[in-house]
Amino acid sequence: MKARVHVTLKTGVLDPQGKAIGHSLNRLGFPEVGDVRQGKYIELELAETDKAKAKQRVEEMCRKLLANTVIENYSIELVG
């Protein structure tokens, strides 16, 4: 089974990198771009076959290492 984890900054946390990306896109001729938020995408190959168990384990991974819950949210998608 594969887990796809998205880690994003919480609402209200300033994202200077997202802002810089937005400015660059505006400069490159994409004036329609407003607020930009940058995050991380992490793909995990898992030996687990039980979806519920896998979800629980990946949540633990997110809390312990993959996300800093002071500033970040995470979402988990299981495929396969």
């Binding site: 300033l14 200077p16 991380k40 312990k64 290492l65 993959l66 800093n68 002071v70 500033i71």
Partner: protein
């Protein structure tokens, strides 16, 4: 005072801080490798600056999970003082020993220069040789020093006097002009609740010799020796 200095793959200020400690104690600190789950008992543990684990995932995130940090957490809970500088500050916040976190500098640039710091509290092991309100000049060198905490945490640390240092102008004014990285409330260093753990982004170990630009960092180490010997 006997000190331990942790060394991670990618640490680069461990020798600087070891020299600062040796200068004030005439005793070499014990250098402890990140894979060591146990090490000699010491009066102080220092988590030095650098780029532990190449800053992968988030600054300090990997180092915070290393065997040595599990032991540091145990000892910190027992009251062993921990001084965490720059990447060390990032590591101990990731390890949950200090509140808040360090984010990418607001201007996105690496900043390497002297800054001014206002001493917020002289009532600690780390700051007893300073006066409250004293202005220090100490260098910073980081790209992720932008202190952030949510509103509740910020209120709590302000109410409990856990802010150790704030970035300020040379005259001590705390405003945007003296803030090198966008830190919330100009926070440059914080304590844990019991003030036995302190983390700061500036490098006091690089301000200990006047011929190298100033010695405002030296009293921090002298104060520790006085408190812990």
């Amino acid at each position: 005072m006997k000190a331990a200095v942790l060394v991670f793959p990618g640490s680069n200020r461990e020798v600087d801080v070891a020299q600062a400690i040796e200068l004030v104690t005439a005793r070499k600190p014990v250098m402890v490798w990140h894979g060591d789950g146990d090490f000699e008992k010491t009066d102080l543990i220092v988590v030095p600056g650098g780029f532990s684990y190449g800053d992968y995932l988030r600054c300090g995130a990997m180092a915070a999970q290393s065997p040595v940090m599990a032991e540091v957490k145990r000892r910190a809970t027992q009251g062993v003082p921990v001084l965490a500088i720059c990447n060390g500050f990032q590591i101990v916040t990731e390890a949950g020993l200090l509140p808040g976190t360090l984010m990418r500098n607001a201007h996105l640039k690496f900043v390497c220069r002297d800054v001014h710091l206002k001493v917020e509290s002289s009532q600690s092991l780390f700051t007893n040789r300073y006066q409250q309100g004293q202005v220090l000049r100490i260098p910073v060198a980081h790209a992720e020093g932008n202190y952030f905490a949510d509103a509740d945490t910020l209120k709590r640390i302000e109410d409990r006097g856990q802010v150790a240092f704030r970035y300020c102008a040379p005259d001590g004014t705390v405003d945007g002009t003296g803030n090198p990285n966008g830190s919330l409330a100009n926070i440059a260093g914080v304590f844990n609740e019991s003030k036995t753990v302190m983390g700061l982004m500036p490098h006091p170990e690089n301000a200990i010799e006047s011929m190298f630009g100033g010695c405002d960092g030296k009293p921090l180490f002298e104060g520790l020796v006085e408190a812990l010997s």
